[in-house]
Point group: C2
Chain length 246, copies 2
Amino acid sequence: MTRTTIAPAETAENTADDVTRVAVSTVIFSLRHDPDRDAPTLVLPLVRRTRDPYEGLWALPGGWLDIAESLDAAASRTLAETTGLAPSYLEQLYAFGATDRSPTRVVSIVYWALLRPDAASTQLIDRTKDAPENVAWFDAASLPRLAFDHNEIVDYALWRLRNKVGYSRIAHGLLADEFTLAELREVYESILGRRLDPANFRRQVENSGTLLPTDRFRTGSHRPARLYRYNQDVELTDRGPLEIRH
Amino acid sequence: MTRTTIAPAETAENTADDVTRVAVSTVIFSLRHDPDRDAPTLVLPLVRRTRDPYEGLWALPGGWLDIAESLDAAASRTLAETTGLAPSYLEQLYAFGATDRSPTRVVSIVYWALLRPDAASTQLIDRTKDAPENVAWFDAASLPRLAFDHNEIVDYALWRLRNKVGYSRIAHGLLADEFTLAELREVYESILGRRLDPANFRRQVENSGTLLPTDRFRTGSHRPARLYRYNQDVELTDRGPLEIRH
DNA sequence: GGAATAGTGTCTATAAGACAGTATGCA
DNA sequence: TGCATACTGTCTTATAGACACTATTCC
């Protein structure tokens, strides 16, 4: 095969038998309304491993990178194949490549994603025909021990989510098209884990220019709240080097 | 060989002949004093390619990932092998994996790094014995056409550097142990590409608690300036999921 | 003494947070 | 009518930026 070098200097040669494999996994966040609590909680889907290593433990959905497939495409594909989910936001998180993270050498390109809480799209499929319950949602704040280094990966994704919600509009990715300011605020509160002043929150988000008021209202409880939608003209967020940045 | 799955669902199988190779490259920034201008300029080292594809073009230093080596270690090793440089700061930038970025399938884990301007460490080595001038420094603002997608990668690294200098202490990585506030300000000005008010800069950086004043002064031009050093107790910056975060 | 750089003081504009107060629907 | 939620107004405090001013050294 043609040797493709990135650097001209002498480098080690990978052999066919002793090769680094590239996997792609995704941490998908969504919000679920907890009847016990007032605020919605962050949840994420995991798949149960049916092979060694870590057979029986829960792991992030993912799969192997195809030879003719970009990393982004592999993330979308493996996500759909293992869970049936199509996220509203998808961004690369980090490449994990410690040598002790798996019995054989695996480099994992990990993505993180957000999912709108539409009933249809949060419906999990289970592609493993004979085993019924191999895909399930978990509370992001209290996960069991996961396979590989996936606990650390989820922690990092959570950190990135909390960080990014402060300076970008990703909260959008967890809401339907139209929403009230209280619903938007609840998204922020769930992610950040603390209450926000409704008055100050309203002012901040209205002055940001990212919201468009509609003339529709959400009724059902006390005074109806105006529904807003996101202003599509404003850049959602930077999600990697391929997006245009100011 | 043992099959290592990340996901339990059916996935494509990599064959021995048709494999994705993992490369590691690094964008290394340093500052060089430009005699024509007042402010130092951002420079980065490139290596000239001696093989196809893109033979003759300049590219980021890097190499193949070894089978028993972490990604971080591979970045340090390939950097040392191709340029002889040991950076003061090293952080993963992004994993690039578009299918058209190289004639054969290559996923590049790209790092970015900072280098202190000590005379010794900015001395480039040239490991390619027969060709004399295969490693050189370039002005980051005016690069020639590079091999692969390396122009875009450098642009992204520059964006990340400019971004990060605003909320972290990475400027430290471009300075010697002791420095004046004017020198620190020049680092910021070079990266951000605009002048900063010396008075406001001083107040900001003094209130941040990251600087320790020494009782030494830099003399040589007009009023001597106090030398400062960084407070090692303060977290330098987040550089990935493996560091401890507040 | 003059020029140049180091360092201080102060004013203003902006934004965040606390919190009182008004508006409007439901029971 | 009372309560819960939506929404508005205002005060305080922290911070960034502009810029005038003082201090110290080199020539």
